[in-house]
Amino acid sequence: MALSGMRGLSVFISDVRNCQNKELERARVDKELANIRTKFKNDKGLTPYEKKKYVWKMLYIFMLGYDVDFGHMEAVSLISAPKYAEKQVGYIVTSSLLNENHDFLRLVINTVRNDIIGRNETFQCLALTMVGNIGGKEFSESLAPDVQKLLISNSCRPLVRKKAALCLLRLYRKNPDVVSVDGWADRMSQLLDEREIGVLTAVMSLLVALVANNPDAYWNCVSKCVRVLERLTRSQDIPQEYTYYGIPSPWLQVKTMRVLQYFPAIDDPNIRRSLFEVLQRVLMGTDAVKNINKNNATHAVLFEALALVMHLDAEKDMMAQCVGLLGKFIAVREPNIRYLGLENMTRMLMVSDVQESIKRHQVQIITSLRDPDIRFRIIFIDLLVQCISLCSIRRRSLDLLYGMCDVTNAKDIVEELLQYLTTADFAIREELALKAAILAEKFAPDLSWYVDVILQLIEKAGDFVSDDIWYRVVQFVTNNDDLQPYAAAKARDFLDKPAVHETMVKVAGYLLGEYSHLLSRRPGCSPKEVFSIIHDKFATVSTPTKAILLSAYIKILLHSQTVDPELQNHVLAVFRKNETYLDAEVQQRASEYYALSRKGPSMVDVMAEMPKFPERQSALLKKAEDTEVDVADTSATKLRLMQLTSTAVVVADQKPANGVHPALTRVPSGQRNIEAPTVPVANGGQSPAPVDFLAIEAAPTHSAPESSPLVGPGDSLALALMDNQASTVQPTGSVTEWFDALCRKDSGILYEDPFIQIGLKAEWRGNQGRIVLFLGNKHTAPLLSVKAVILPPRHMQLLTSNVPDTIPPRAQVQCPVEVTNLSPSREIPVLDFSYNNSSAMVSFKLRLPVIMSKFLQGATLAPADYIARWKALMGPPNKLLQEVVRGVKPLPLQEMSDLLGSLHVAIAPGYDPNVNNIVGAATYFSENPTLCLIRIETDPADRTQIRLTVGTPDTSVALELKEYIKERLVDIPSGAAPTSLPGMPSPADDLVGPAASLAGLI
């Protein structure tokens, strides 16, 4: 190729490519730069060829990102060379190496000008290209008129004119005066009559810039532009080379439509009509095709048309048509089109009257929220938040957002909602706040983020944050030790802000009272400082808040390691002063705390941190349910709520499960769902409570606080013992029923209690099985010392993977178990499970549904085959085991056959001539598969007795299987544990003696 002559350059490029690392590359480049520098120093000896070579090397080095601070002169001087080959290199290297602010450019202005006005067309092209790419004020001032002349000249070839148009555009950008020539607008209008598409494209680019700055001057171009569009969309007079995948220059179409968007409005009815015809043609004629480039090109035009339609504020029908198209786009798989579809949908929302039609595309919109591309989701969330701000569909959109939230997008959605909260309509703020709080709780990637969100929520919309919301955050903080210092520090930061909402004072006061001692080493967080920052707010807050703050004070005082006498005096003074406060609650607290604090350090235990809260249903969810009155049944919120309760944390009136922690609790008025800030009196730590406390607490649980003798005037004053009767954790349902259900199917719940849910999923193939246990922590605190041990029966091999010691809050861990069945047996494995819910150890044993029927597989045999096998089993030696079973649950024949079917035995109806008999076959998989034939003979007169025959080549299988089936028949799964019934062989009836004796032997 043309490089053939420049071996030096090729060698240099391969050298650089072969460098192993950046250092070697730099060394090679430095060496080359030094070489070039020396060569240029004695430039007298350089041939034009050498000069070219070195200048190319410089450009290459510069392109790689190295500084090249010499040799510019040589590059520029090549421009003045008389020969094309050198000039070309000079121009292109200069335009790449220098930018418009470079002084060297001044040196060549004259040469460039001479090339432009000269007769040599190739030189003109080179000069125009360079000026167009580099711009610059000086070029602009001295060259603009010459460039203009070339553009409008009739004698120039299109090649020169299109370059001139773009060169002028560049000069215009630098200096808009270059076109302030009389009649320039007319010239532009004439240029739009150009037939040559290349020139027209360049002229259109120029026009875009001109019109963008000054649309009024170019009104005369509107009709011309519409005509260009007509020509293009009708494919009139478009040379083949200017079609792109069959589309008449998509770029020119886009540019022309762009020009039209800069005119405020198009009033002339004729022009408007023709334009709409064109647009209609574009909107209609767009079908997605296989070829991606063709597709892109059509859609480039289409999106520009959409933008123009929106700009023109077209008739409703056309708008609806656009929305319809956008709806189609956001449903396609091609990510580019989807992205642009969403973006334009957002823009569309700004146009009135289309929101209703957009609503119809919500399903597609929702799917976009799950897109792997994060930006899709952001755009989309943005779109919906904007929807909320539009009154007509805002309720729906909020529902939608709320409904679509999941772990992947929760952070974006919640943060977006928080953003929006400050500007939202008052009418919707409370709901927004509530929903943001719920989503934050449900999908928090980590709890500190959750705390941040709630505190921000209170800060931004304190008036709209109900007590439930801040009670909930307090619960979370109390139950998670790791979170406490973080939350306390955050709360302190928020108190520093100039205007603090009262709810913030409450939550910060509470958190700091409980946990500020964890911060005492941080600057500005000494007990004294914390006290004073809280107390600053005391004068201005309402009575209930004052009560909370008083509790905080005494906690701060008693939590501090060394009592600061000054702080003590302060606090005592505050208590003293409030002993006479008008409100009884405040008054009582003040006087009681005063008395307590005077007793000094011995009271530290009384004021210990609050114990962990028992887990319960989020009151927020409940509240959301209540606010659901005016939404249609299908509303996303409702669906979401259903989902929430199904995976739900805990059922409503759960017994507290946190062991024995007697504590004095203040139950806030009218608040049952959440324990409000409380003041523990007895040690809330891990030590078991004294016996007499328990005796007191034996009283009914939730009503206890109010009925307690300690209740003062107004129940909010109540200082009462918290309920704590249950120390054992109970499952939330029947373990046996769960087990029975799992015997019949392969996935479901194995066990569930307020803290943990154990799910099970199994797959069986032959004598192999794979069970996965799903251990889900439903609690807000981690479950510790989790242990799962499976005790395998002798006939099975079990491979268990390790269970992590700790299950984080709201997390699920999987525990796969591989099962191999080695020999027939009815014994089943038992899972020994235990965990610590941070207040008590819970342990239980669960039977795993690895029963015989899991290794059975129905076998279908042809009647003749069946009978032949049966006869073979009859012996000798006789391999049929037979038994008369009494006390069978009376079942109709069909149900009995269904029951057998549910054990994976393939029933063969009609094989036995006696209609009262059921026969079937199955393969039992242990180490070797064994074919089993089964027959049940029923007596229509007495349904409680049957004769059961099981025949297999392997009698141990037959025996176990017979017993297994017998258990099922005698005790149809309904609850009782399948304790193996004592085998009751009844030889009396036996027609086949040897079988009976065999059964008796084993």
Binding site: L3, K162, E241, Y244, R258, P335, L340
Partner: protein, 161 residues
């Protein structure tokens, strides 16, 4: 308008840069670094546009090379995407099944061709035929000049023997 054109290999090596707005060398390097980090890790199923500093970058991967153009945020993205493809088609026509090595060793050719397709960050010529014609005319001009030079030097060499 197109602010700049970048060709980056999958390993992050720069194969061509063309700047239509004044950027200093420092800004150029920063842009290349940031965009490589932004674009190279993106999976094939993601869309071809990324937002960057209030601008938009439209990119497309051809074998081991990423062709990126940075456009204004209100520009038509698909239009830009097809400008890239148009350039690739012309390169393909010129080199005959162009590959990364062609562009490494003939980077100056890639520049010449780009200059016939874009000026001032705007599309100059959408006809592949027309661009190819101009480029081959340039090649002829350069070749002729070389022949002339060599024949001249031959004559001189012979005359001075």
């Amino acid at each position: 308008m197109i602010r700049f054109v970048l060709l980056i290999s999958r390993q992050g090596k720069v194969r061509l840069t063309k700047w239509y707005s004044p950027y200093t060398q420092k800004e150029r390097l920063k842009a290349i670094r940031e965009l490589s980090a932004l674009i190279l890790p993106r999976g094939p199923k993601l869309c071809n546009f990324v937002e960057w500093k209030g601008l938009k970058v439209v990119y497309k991967r051809y074998a081991s090379l990423y062709f990126c153009i940075c456009v204004d945020s209100e520009d038509n993205e698909l239009d830009g995407l097809e400008v890239i493809h148009h350039y690739v088609q012309v390169l393909d026509r010129y080199f005959g099944n162009v590959c990364e090595l062609d562009l490494i060793f003939n980077f100056h050719k890639a520049y010449f061709i780009l200059d016939e397709i874009l000026i001032a960050g705007e599309l100059q010529e959408s006809s592949k035929k027309s661009v190819s014609r101009v480029i081959s005319a340039q090649d002829t001009l350069v070749e002729n000049a070389k022949e002339q030079a060599s024949s001249l030097s031959n004559m001189i060499a012979q005359a001075t023997k």
